[in-house]
Amino acid sequence: MNTKIKRAVLVLTGGGLIAVAVAVYMYNKPHENIEKTKADFTLTAMELAEAFQENEEAANTRYLGKILVVSGEVKLLGSSEDGSLSYSLFDPFNGVTCTLNAEYVRLNSSGISLIEEGSQVIFKGRCDGKLTDVRVSDCVLLELE
């Protein structure tokens, strides 16, 4: 083989390997790290709940899929069989429910166990939309008073 062909083969092989590496990385890319991602909005649970109550379509356009920092008073605690925990802020049924996934709960159990009804908290998570309450998922606890 002459040097030109050898070089071409090397470049193609190199390019091919990079493409494969990128594809493998993308396929295996980790879930968004909420803690490290900059929040799109910071607001109170009351403000968020009211925004969805007044105009759900507009609130979806503004907040759906975005990272929010939400603060408020815990009105109701909940849990799922998989180990995730939820905290409903501002109103028990029509407020904002922030859910911490099971993995996060496991790694931060000592801090989380202090949260109770009446606690003032600040969570950061992703807005998934509204059922009867606004749901914020994959939350991390930023502050607890």
């Binding site: 980790p30 759906l64 069989e81 998989d82 939820s86 996934n101 998934d128 939309g129 059922l131 749901r135």
Partner: protein, 182 residues
Amino acid sequence: MKTIFLLALLTTGILTGRSQDQFYTRNGHVDFFSHAPLEDIQANNEQVALFLNTTNGELSAAMLMKSFRFEKALMQQHFNENYVESDKFPRAEFEGQIAGFTELDLAGGKPREVTAKGKITIHGVTRELTVTGTIAKVGGNYEIDAVFILKPADFEIRIPASVKDNIAEEIRVTLDATLQKM
């Protein structure tokens, strides 16, 4: 619109003081499983809201598509952006009735086989749905379990030909929830 139905149910229960007939959970579990030649896909949603009116067996459920969690982040992204278009259609809803609910003998906590018939809306498309499952009354709570099949095509969820060996035409959906008195 459906949320208004749920809210009305809630408000009626509270206003009439008949909340002893309303049962509810906000942490019901739904998962779906797709088995295809090239891969199996599973996703879990632990934030399903269900309401049960025990005076007449009316059952409604609602869940947010963005709350489905996949093992692979890329799959979760494709599911939301390309398949169910969750920015346009954030919610899936079911409204129906459990046939013969008031005649059920739920004493002793044994699960009884029941059929729920109603309408399901996914990706903005509403279809009739009949589901068979079980219901049990355990310690004052209602435990509901069901497994059923849904076809993405029925809800205009377009699966590109390039991934037809990765995603099944029929998806197995599992529901389990424990509803408490409101």
